[in-house]
Subunit: 433 residues, 2 copies
């Protein structure tokens, strides 16, 4: 921010008379609509003294016209703001993950083009005309729905976070990945539109022993998970839209299951089948995967809920160095058990906590945006955040989690993240309990 040597009069030349006459007649500040003589001359704004220095090239020529991009995309200057994968993480990209660039975003809505991906056999390219969803099993009448059928049922609009159970999984064994895109980027938050699953299940008619559903995807993995009926009836949605438009192919086009607050693996994409049963199916994804192996050799199973969690997205390792002076700590928090009630920030690795400012809407099982503003004097910092949710649960330290879970875990690491801000403003991922 620079002070400008401003020699202008405070008003462009030629406006004085007309302007004063009009003002005295009408009281514009009150905001009332008034009447002026039609066709009054519009004085030109041509005083060069009023121009900022160096009129830019883009002001000197016509730009592209409308609808030269019928579907728009970001500025050429933002081309580094993309999802990224980590090539060594999995054997193939068809069974891998890409990460939301959290460090480049603000607010709570994730643009559709930047929502992280996790595929088990790549992106199924589903033709919506041939899409079918079957509901069968312990129902009175098995049903087959086309996409048009789904769109004829009453629909709801809900903003929810979706987090992969393996988000922050590498961090169980200490600071591994240098940037919140990689440590926490398996989360996104959009507005879904779809049919409450309850409505579809009631259309099929549930038998008295209907206690579980199994949701199966139309990808080559036929990804499937068991969901208890209580959750299916409570708030699950068969969604076909995200942020207003149809789902993106990588997010399950044309329809996916939304299981609010629960691990992302259950939000079955390219949803082709819901089977109703009286017991869980113990599929691969809820036995050999998505269970939490403890030190004892036993595994926690059916750990569906994503507990309260938060991360500071800026400052963070992928962002420009911190400058001295007024500094904004910005981050995201979420809880699968309800709303985020409070977020605290620590500058000293958890010894002292100060309440952050939550700004923007707070929805059940959605991300919230928090800020903490302070003057940085150049002293090194250990930046942390912790979320407190509507159940009173406080996001724990990684060490507290490890005491209970050991270090064999991959999933459900909601421990507090630490960024070390060095004296020169550089930020790195470090381990502070």
């Amino acid at each position: 921010m620079t002070k400008v040597d401003d020699t202008s009069s405070g008003r462009p030349r030629g406006n004085d008379a007309a302007g004063k006459a009009r003002t005295s007649r009408r009281g514009f500040l009150a905001g009332a609509a008034g009447l002026a003589a039609a066709g009054a001359a519009a004085p030109a704004l041509g005083n060069p003294k009023n121009q900022p220095p160096n009129v830019a090239d883009w002001t000197k020529a016509l730009g592209d016209g409308v609808a030269t991009r019928p579907y728009g995309h970001p500025s050429q200057f933002e081309k580094e703001v993309v999802r990224r994968d980590v090539q060594w993480l999995t054997a193939s990209r068809e069974s891998s993950v890409s990460f939301t660039p959290l460090h480049e975003l603000d607010g709570i809505i994730t643009p559709n083009g930047l929502c992280f991906e996790r595929h088990h056999s790549g992106i199924a390219e589903v033709d919506p005309a041939d899409y079918r969803l079957m509901i069968h099993g312990l129902v009175d009448k098995p049903l087959l729905f086309t996409l048009d059928d789904l769109k004829r049922f009453p629909r709801v609009n809900k903003i929810y976070f979706l987090e992969c159970a393996a988000n922050s999984g590498m961090e169980w064994r200490g600071a591994q990945l240098n940037g919140c895109q990689y440590t926490h980027g398996m989360v996104h938050c959009v507005m879904y539109t779809g049919v409450p699953l309850k409505v579809l299940l009631e259309e099929a008619g549930l038998k008295s022993n209907a206690k579980w559903i199994m949701a199966e995807g139309g990808d080559a993995a036929a990804m499937n998970r068991s969901v208890p009926m209580a959750k299916a009836l409570e708030d699950c949605i068969v969604a076909y839209r995200m942020n207003g438009e149809m789902l993106r192919p990588e997010n399950g086009y044309p329809a996916r299951l939304v299981v609010p607050g629960w691990e992302g693996n259950m939000w079955v994409k390219w949803l082709r089948r819901i089977k109703v049963g009286d017991e869980p199916w113990f599929t691969r994804e809820e036995t050999s995967k998505y269970t939490d192996l403890l030190e004892s050799g036993k595994a926690r199973q059916f750990t569906w809920v994503m507990d309260a969690k938060s991360v500071i997205t800026s400052p963070s390792p992928q962002v420009a160095k911190v400058r001295k002076g007024f500094t904004i700590v910005s981050g995201l928090a979420w809880s699968g058990r309800g709303t985020v009630k409070r977020v605290d920030v620590s500058l000293d690795g958890g010894r002292n906590w100060r309440e952050a400012r939550i700004d923007g809407p707070v929805f059940d099982k959605a991300c919230v945006r928090f800020y903490y503003e302070f003057d940085w004097n150049g002293q090194p910092l250990l930046l942390q955040s912790r979320a407190i949710d509507s159940t009173g649960y406080v996001q724990p330290s990684k060490d507290d989690l490890r005491k209970v879970r050991g270090v064999n875990s991959i999933y459900h690491n909601n421990g507090i993240q630490t960024w070390h801000v060095k004296a020169d403003g550089e930020v790195e991922n470090v381990e502070v309990g």
Copy 2:
């Protein structure tokens, strides 16, 4: 929706023993996390009787891997869901408009790639490194901000609608355009992130006679508008993000003015200058344009607020024919004076009104989504909606508006829209007062 002849057992083969043993031990429906022996075998889901008919091709082969599209885009099957312009509307596309495909969207968030455009000299392609915003005029210290400077000020996140004053302008003279994309598509609704203008003005220090600002864009039109200081201090934002990511070039990248509830022309894009003065500037865009010419030959001036308005987005002329049976009327409503309190729907051209269901979040000066569900028996309909806002204002009929404003107007047509649903389900734009 089809009934399926389902001959399956309700549970895939091989699960019975393990499944029953586990269920009886733990009570899954209560949702409690339990412990299971690690490494338990995951039974295969291979019973062909459980498969929907015709396993699709996309289930038989690997799809594309992650991050093959680092910035994602919609399905190939959605390529008709785009902004469209009307070639004959203006002399050049650099000074024209493209329309949001409202009929293809749901919920309240507009994806960034589909937000309508209105340019006066095309899209300024601003290099963010060279971007500057000057604040000068009746201030204690004129200031020049870089984009980084703006990002160092405390920021807010707000969801607002933006409507062009000329939205529905063609409809003043009767039913002209056949589809809500064209009749009402100069509106969008996103989450903005930016600095309250008040903060920046206070940084510069307002002189006691500072009563107005003039905001000027960095496009070749140097588009500029006067805004009264009361509004500038109340809720205006210098925004640099929409839906989390940086603004799109066509929406003012890297920074624009947000003037909640007021006509879109004032939301100056590519914002380069804010001049503080004691009177309005009477620029071209608030004298020869964006005033409402009345029958008397006088013009309403400074008609900034966008009054309560609504439109049924489906059924509508660009959407597939209506089918008999359960039918969902879906639409958007908004008000520049506060929140939308209620939306009514009429099936008979305004003789009878029924209250619609508002679903999803309701924010101040943002779009809300409404639904009205009924059984259509094939009788022709005259579909209408009307919004009622928190001030008690009821969206008027077009005839009521014309009685006051005549038919010379271009701007601020918030009259009730009518869609005629014919007996065969086809929908057309018609005039019903």
